[in-house]
Structures are given as C-alpha cells and as structure tokens.
C-alpha cells in the first residue's frame, strides 16, 4: 500500500497510547479514561474518537462495517468506511454478521452481536453528568465517589413535571453496578442491548479525549425508579419495507399533507428481512 501514511493512519506510538487506554477501560468498566486524542483528518464531532479507537484496534484481516443512524449508506458512514479502506486497505462490509468491527454513530444493530465482535461507538459528550455539572474536575470527583444523586434528582424532577422520564436518547446507564455512563446518543430503545452483550463495546470521544468500555457479559442497567421503570420506546408501526414490528424506525415525510412512512433505521437488518 502506498498511501503515504502508516497503516490505519495513526502512527505506532499513538496507537500504543490508545491501546493502553482501551485495556484499562476494559479493566474498569464504564470509567472514562483520559487519552491524548489526536486531530484526525475528519472533523471533531464527526467520529474522531471512534475512528481513533477503530484505527488502534483494526488489523489487516478485519472486516469493517460503519453505520450512522443505523444505516450503512449515510454520507458520514460512507466517508469513514472509505477512509479505512484507503488508509488500512481492509475489507469492508454492510453485513452485521460478517463484520468483525462495527463502528457506529447513534445505534446498536438490530441483529444480535456475538463474541469477539467489537462495537465501536462514536461519542460526542462522554460525561453523563455534563448538563448537571459542566466542570470536569467536579464530575471526575463525583465518579470517584460514585455520587450520582444529581442524576437521580434530575430524572425524578422530569417525572414530577412530565409524568415520565424525559430522556429519549442518551439515557444514562450504570455499568456493573458502579459507574454512571453515557451510552452515547443511541435511542433509549437500544439501551437494553448493551446489557450482557457478548461483544466488546468500546467508546471513543475524540474532542473530549476520553475512552471507555463495556466488557462482554457485563451488567448495564438504564437508570430508573421502581415506580417509573425504564421504558424503551419506538414508533408504534411496522416497517413499510420489511414489516418488522420489533426494529427501531425512522419516520419519513412523504408529502406536505401529513403523509409519512416508517422504515427500519438499520438498513442491513431491513435488507436481510426483505430478502427472506
């Protein structure tokens, strides 16, 4: 390969640093490990954390899938997939089953993952408490003390005001009974998939320079209350293409008279179902 860049773009020293951070992230599930994130040739907020994690994990025999909003064909997913095809020369795929590494923005695939698959999340704001405590020094202390009362109070205030928890995506979770963690802006519908998942779940936040992880077979509980249990929601329709009533749906506006259609956000899942 003659791209003029190292395999997978990052230099070896940077990869070593990220790899060390990833290993410690696995060892302390849900804890945000600070790391020396580098500028990437893609902008911050567009997946630089996920890209750095993927670049540090990927090898020449991997098969990479990249999704954005569940779909393989959104422009940013295409752009990231092209990037790795160019700088790492790896095989890419749109199939969840065939992929060994899946980089995602905002979704967990509908098709269940298996052992040894690596799911890499792009994370915009890794700190689950940032809206309640924007000062990183303070939130770091709160994590050290496992002091998560602020978040409980916030969720409870939602319930008092609105009758239910108001977060519909990026709903905070507790990992292995210890760390409060942002699941990244996945819909709350996807939260239960994180729990006891056989795959390795890695999270990269480039601009905020944090890496965290959920090891396989690890308890991930969405924050809730006994009298107001966590309730994942989806649009109450069937997919217009594959008729699934289980999958998470995108809503499409079809005309200016209120017409709409619902189709699966996971394009691979939908295509598989349409084929069979």
């Amino acid at each position: 390969m003659t791209t003029g860049y190292n395999f997978a773009y990052l230099d070896e020293a940077t990869k070593r640093m990220i790899r060390r951070a990833l290993l410690k992230a696995i060892a302390v599930p849900g804890h945000q490990v600070p790391f020396g994130a580098r500028e990437m040739p893609l902008p911050y907020g567009w997946g630089t954390g996920g890209i750095q994690v993927t670049a540090s994990v990927i090898g020449s025999d991997d098969r990479l899938k990249v999704i954005d909003q569940g779909a393989d064909d959104t422009t940013n997913a295409i752009s990231i997939r092209r990037f790795f095809a160019r700088v790492a020369g790896v095989e890419t795929t749109e199939s969840t089953t065939e992929a060994t590494i899946i980089q995602t923005r905002h979704r967990i695939p509908e098709t269940p993952l298996r052992e040894d698959q690596v799911l890499v999340y792009q994370v915009p704001m890794p700190e689950p408490l940032f809206k309640l405590e924007p000062r990183v020094r303070e939130s770091t202390k709160l994590h050290a003390l496992a002091e998560y009362g602020l978040m409980q109070v916030k969720l409870y205030e939602d319930i008092a005001k609105q009758g239910e928890v108001a977060t519909s995506y990026n709903h905070p979770v507790i990992v292995d009974g210890r760390y409060l963690m942002s699941p990244s802006p996945i819909p709350a519908f996807d939260n239960p998939k994180m729990d006891m998942n056989p795959a390795i779940q890695l999270f990269g936040a480039g601009r905020e320079k944090r890496i965290y992880a959920v090891p396989p077979y690890t308890r991930v509980e969405s924050l809730d209350f006994e009298d107001h249990p966590f309730r994942p929601i989806r649009a109450p329709h069937a997919c217009a293409l594959c008729r699934s009533t289980e999958s998470y749906l995108d809503e499409l506006i079809t005309d200016d008279r209120g017409g709409r259609r619902f189709i699966c956000s996971d394009t691979d899942y939908c295509a598989q179902r349409q084929r069979t």
Binding site: A13, G36, Q69, D73, N76, S168
Partner: protein
C-alpha cells in the same frame, strides 16, 4: 415508491468535484502558487501555523490554498497532518531573550536597553484601501544586530517590583499528547492558548478589559523575531541548533494589591504564539493573567478567569467540528424525541380532559 435518501456515494463525489471547481475559480485567471501565498499572505499563513500547531510556512500555505483561504479549515488540515509525523525529540526551552528581534516595543518605558524597535507593523498606517496602488517592494535596510535587549519583566523583577515566576525544572505538560487535564498548570494553559482560536482569545482578553476579570494591564513588552530551536540528541548528549522559528511574545504587566504573604507588586500575563501575530500574543497574555486568579488569591468570577471554560472552548478545530456536526443526520435521536413528545402530549391532553 418513496425511496429514502440513497446515493450517498455519488453525492459525495459530486460535492467534492464542485468544491474543487469553486476552489480553482475562473480557470482563465492564473492559479495562485503556494509560494505566492507564503510570500504575500504571510499573516494568514502564520495564523494557520499557530492554530494548526505546526511551524512550517510551506505546509501552512499549502493548507490555506487547499482550504480556499478558510484559515480554520486550513489549521485543521495542518493539525491532522502534523499528527502523523513521528516525534523525534523535544526541544530545549527557547530563549526569547536572545531573539533576533524585528519588532520590540514597550508601553511602559519610553526608552529601555536595546531601544524601541517599531519594525513592520500596520499600527500607524491609515486604513485606506489603496486603490490602484501597486504593492511596491521597497528596499529594506538590514538592521544592525540588536544589542542586548533584556526583557522588561526582568528589569522590573530586578527592582523587586515584579513577582517572579517560580523557576521549575519539571517537565512541562504536553497538550499534543495528553490533552487537557484539570487543574491545568500554566504550561498547559499557555500551550492550549498558543494554538487556540485567535478570535475567541481576542474576545476573552477584551472582556477582561471591560470589567470581566479585574485586569489593569500594561504592555510591558511585545517582541517579534527569530529564535533558535535547540535539541539534545541522546546520542550526543549536548545541545545542537536545529534552526530558527519566528515567534511573537507579549508580556503584560498587571497591578496586584498584594496579600498577607506577598507585598503589592506587578504580576505578569504571558503570551507566546508561533509566527507573527501580536494581536493573539496580547490576548493570550491578558487571559493568562486572568487565569492566575486562584494562585494570586483573587476571586474567580469572570469567564476569562475560568480555565475550564476558556481552554475547553478556545480550540477552533474542536469547536468547529462539534458545531458543524449538527448538520449530520440525527434521524434516530430526533425520532425518539418525536415519539417522546407525542407521548408527553397524549398524557398532557388526557390530563387536561379529565
């Protein structure tokens, strides 16, 4: 049948082609060369070098051309490139006292050892558009190698009027490797600001002059010029000079009322920026002084004094990325918001009806 947004591949290719066409502009007009940009738009090149955190005018000029003159985009290109370079070593601290000065002014002393050197500046130009005037290339007489030019801060310190910054042999922080950590020590703050966005830092510095941060600044000294960069290769064990870079340095002098431990004296705000950019060096010096509030026992009330606020938001590569990421699709999150809103409305309507 309604087809959801497809054809991303073709769309990207078409967009890149269009962008390339706009970048080139009218093909009948000669293309600018990188050398022309480096030589004739030097301050834009310097800004890209500083915010791109890479002291290489040639690469900065190339980035500026590729970015159609967008300095933020160009800084981003340069940062992304510099990251891929191997780190061969760390330089010794530069001695700006030994600078080959092209400009050196002090607002606190009419004359001082080494003198005032106005140097190249827009300061006293009349800001009139020079219609039709060709850009002349007047001969510039080589200036005498400057005599010793002690820093104004050192002059004041000798009198005991300037608080001395405690010397330290501790390794400075390295923002390019470790990122921001809080509490951020001064070396980390100054590094973050050296590559921070000029406009943001200018506004922050300005705010300290308008009551947000209790500043009473004087320009002790601004100096711009070439400084030697030295490294100690491990196999040699002694310092060698690997070349010169041009930097802008500003030392702001601020009054300090004193406290139980320290007498009333001046304190320093410091700014150092790669390239010729005294506006930014001055802004950094103002903000640096503001951020020393905790160390000097002053109340932290204003935005410029809040290191987390300033440092987390001064990097334009970070901020432009995250602001602009809002144009990426958010169908999934928005969909869950839609469903949530419908659910909340149904509940609201049911409650109102009952």
């Amino acid at each position: 049948m309604y087809v959801s947004v497809k054809g991303g591949e073709q769309a990207i290719d078409a967009a890149h082609t269009w962008q390339a066409a706009l970048r080139r502009g009218d093909a009948a007009v000669p293309e600018v060369s990188i050398t022309q940009l480096r030589e004739q738009l030097g301050l834009a090149v310097d800004r890209v070098m500083a915010e791109g955190a890479c002291a290489d005018p040639e690469l900065a000029a190339q980035a500026l051309k590729q970015a159609r003159g967008d300095t933020t985009e160009a800084a981003f290109l340069l940062r992304a490139y510099r990251n891929t370079l191997p780190r061969l070593g760390a330089s010794l601290p530069m001695d700006t006292g030994a600078m080959r000065v092209e400009r050196r002014i002090s607002a606190t002393y009419k004359d001082l050892p080494g003198g005032q050197v106005l140097g190249p500046t827009f300061d006293y130009t009349h800001r009139l558009l020079e219609f039709a005037a060709p850009i002349a290339a007047p001969p510039v007489e080589a200036t005498e190698p400057a005599a010793a030019m002690p820093r104004v801060s050192d002059v004041l310190a000798r009198e005991g009027l300037m608080a001395r910054d405690a010397p330290s042999d501790a390794e400075p922080a390295d923002i390019t490797r470790d990122g921001l950590r809080f509490p951020a020590d001064r070396s980390l703050r100054l590094q973050a600001m050296a590559r921070g966005d000029e406009g943001f830092l200018l506004a922050m510095g300005y705010s300290t002059q308008r009551g947000y941060g209790n500043a009473h600044p004087f320009v002790g000294e601004i100096r711009i010029g070439a400084v030697s960069v030295e490294i100690v290769p491990p196999e040699l064990g002694f310092a060698i000079d690997i070349g010169e870079i041009t930097v802008s340095e500003c030392q702001m002098v601020n009054q300090f009322a004193g406290n139980a431990e320290a007498p009333p004296q001046f304190t320093r705000g410091y700014g150092l920026v790669v390239g010729r950019n005294e506006r930014k060096a001055m802004a950094v010096a103002l903000v640096d002084r503001a951020q020393r509030a905790p160390e000097l026992g002053e109340d932290v009330k204003a935005p410029a004094q809040d290191a987390e606020f300033v440092l987390y938001h001064c990097d334009n590569v970070e901020s432009t990325g995250f602001v602009e990421h809002l144009k990426l699709p958010h169908y999934v999150d928005f969909q869950s918001e839609l469903e949530k809103l419908r659910s909340l409305r149904a509940r609201w309507e049911a409650e109102r009806a009952s």
